[in-house]
Symmetry: C2
Subunit: 435 residues, 2 copies
Amino acid sequence: MNKLIKNACIMTMDADNTIIENGYIGIEAGLITYVSADFPATFMPHMIIDAKEKIVMPGLVNAHTHTPMILLRNYADDLPLQQWLFDKIFPMEDKLTAEDAYWACQLSMMEMLKSGVTCFSDMYFYMEEVAKAVNKAGMRSNLSRGLQCFNDDFDVMTDERLLENEQLFKDWHGEANGRIKVSVGPHALYTCVPEYLKASVELAKRLETGIHIHVSETQKERDECIEKYGKTPVKHLADLGVFEVNTLAAHCVHVSDEDLDILKQHHVNVVYNPGSNLKLGSGIAPVTKMIERGINVALATDGAASNNNLNMFEEIHLAALISKGVLEDPTAITAEKALQMATLNGAKALGNDRETGSIKVGMKADLIIVSKKSPHFYPRNDITANLVYATQASDVETVLVEGQILMDKGDFKTIDTEEVLYHIDKISKRLFEVS
Amino acid sequence: MNKLIKNACIMTMDADNTIIENGYIGIEAGLITYVSADFPATFMPHMIIDAKEKIVMPGLVNAHTHTPMILLRNYADDLPLQQWLFDKIFPMEDKLTAEDAYWACQLSMMEMLKSGVTCFSDMYFYMEEVAKAVNKAGMRSNLSRGLQCFNDDFDVMTDERLLENEQLFKDWHGEANGRIKVSVGPHALYTCVPEYLKASVELAKRLETGIHIHVSETQKERDECIEKYGKTPVKHLADLGVFEVNTLAAHCVHVSDEDLDILKQHHVNVVYNPGSNLKLGSGIAPVTKMIERGINVALATDGAASNNNLNMFEEIHLAALISKGVLEDPTAITAEKALQMATLNGAKALGNDRETGSIKVGMKADLIIVSKKSPHFYPRNDITANLVYATQASDVETVLVEGQILMDKGDFKTIDTEEVLYHIDKISKRLFEVS
């Protein structure tokens, strides 16, 4: 169905950060086929969306999350990461079923769509169920099976998790008109022995795909890695060849200048998770240094269990604020840079930047429409600053992926809210009342 | 009009942080006359508010802002405080008229009400206009005339600003059924010579009221104070006798342990402005140390020109996150503490805690009702954590001050949205198109 968006303030997020004050976007077969300040005289739309007093921008990319973990939101707060993970989260995860993951992923997508997310990168288990949910909901995503192995006596040919990740790839990579991609998901160096990390990368190479991994999230991870392997997490992973495939490195909070040079050299994509890193007391990633070096920095919420929300507008806000405060430098991360992290850089990190992340003819129509009607949009001034410093998730009015409307004025078009919330209530009763 | 709120999850914010899972609140003549888990058999309400699936909590207190500065939102971003203030803000402020302040304050109140604020402390000029706007809108506030004087040749008897502040007190202190209070507002030690600070405090003593002042906001302020007066800002102000009256000390970012002891000793109320301090690159206040010492720490947005929003739920979130990340301690500021800062501590700082800041029989009915219907309220788990880490301003459904509904489902009952936005547009055209 051809769509015309008219009267929009268009944040293209192209190389020049072009903003069209009052423009038109034509969409055909899921693609953007027209972008201009001029009325498209010959375009025949089946549907017209009036975006007067609204902003149209590329959909946000949540580059690192664990959608089923939304079930553990507010379950264990104010604890250090390792204690939170090993004492609270891992035992509770043993209770989760595949069906739980299916409903939980839908709840996560509801929350993400409401804050303008069109694409997310997910690492967890029961990922076949997640893939089904994503396929049905119409979002774009990069999925990986979280892989853990604490000792060397695994067999690559029979290791259940590696096989699952491979099966996930075979079943889903490139499916849903290419909306779903599959990577390999070695969880972290402290949950994967070196040989297992190598096996994961070998799998990624064989499948010609990338990996998604947690890197140098806490001081403890860094200290223990140095003690055990005599080198930093980044160096350890680099030496094992992990970075030889396209890498999504979540966190990178505790990294030295030398680590940053290694990340840059291997074209590693860093995913910055300011909310989660703050909440877990993990620390503050040296994002300005990464940007100075030309490292691609994407943005993410992490899972709702450690954030405790999936609101990407809050992460954009945090990304723009935190470095300024910590470095006592108000020019540290500009509003423009924060917006880029959440759009173009995310698309780039997932290898999608030829298709999404900016508004240009030929790109997929993954777009969001943001209303400017709330008091915090007055007076009408710098729109980039407004999007970063004042905009709230609730300003997101409409979300399109490949030209299909997935959310409009709070209504989900592909997710049955009542059905999802019914199941979430049922699941949470089972999880928490017995525990 | 007697009101009964029923079926509510009541966050009382009392000394024990009592939460009533399903309770009733009776309101008569603006006061809370009934709070219980039991149905009030003899209460005769004129209006019933069903708060099923909703949270009722004390209205938020924004303890330091400059409401007319909303006109300068997004006007000058990513600059250091002193440059931002002296090169951009002060010159623009010269263009503001009294009428501008009247409309700007109303826009600020719209934004604050939307995030659940019932009371705010304001320091600026044209405060008579601000008082009129507050009176009309029905909010609770503490107003002070921002006082500046850069040299010693002022005359206490004829100084225009001191006289204005005194007149403001005479006209408005205790007015609107006590909703409006007036303090004295010496701006800061770097904008007031010592004799002027003393004169301000003398005025406050004579009027038997408190003062509202910026304290140790930046390293530059601290360094220059030490250079000029041989002591820290806190010591300098203490020695001048500034803290001899009830003091609202905004910021206190750069303070030593000794400074904190002085603040504690003088019962100074610190107002923490995490968003503004981060955005201006001012730094991060040692809030955990303040709390350890028993200093009363309230919370605030600062003005919209340096934030750039007046969303108190965002400040609560920041307050809970920042210290955890900076100290790498996830237990640093608990969710409960962050909520207290935004409610009870704010009321205490403004000397209102016998009337507001918690839900108890006999208190004024300054309440907000927060909807739990959004996806980020699922699964139903720890409600305190949810309010702090996931709740958004848009979840605030209803705001009452002294039992009067000021905002309900986005509609303002005492502010004419169209009228305000018409004037804001007109003013901003004048301010920005000529500049």
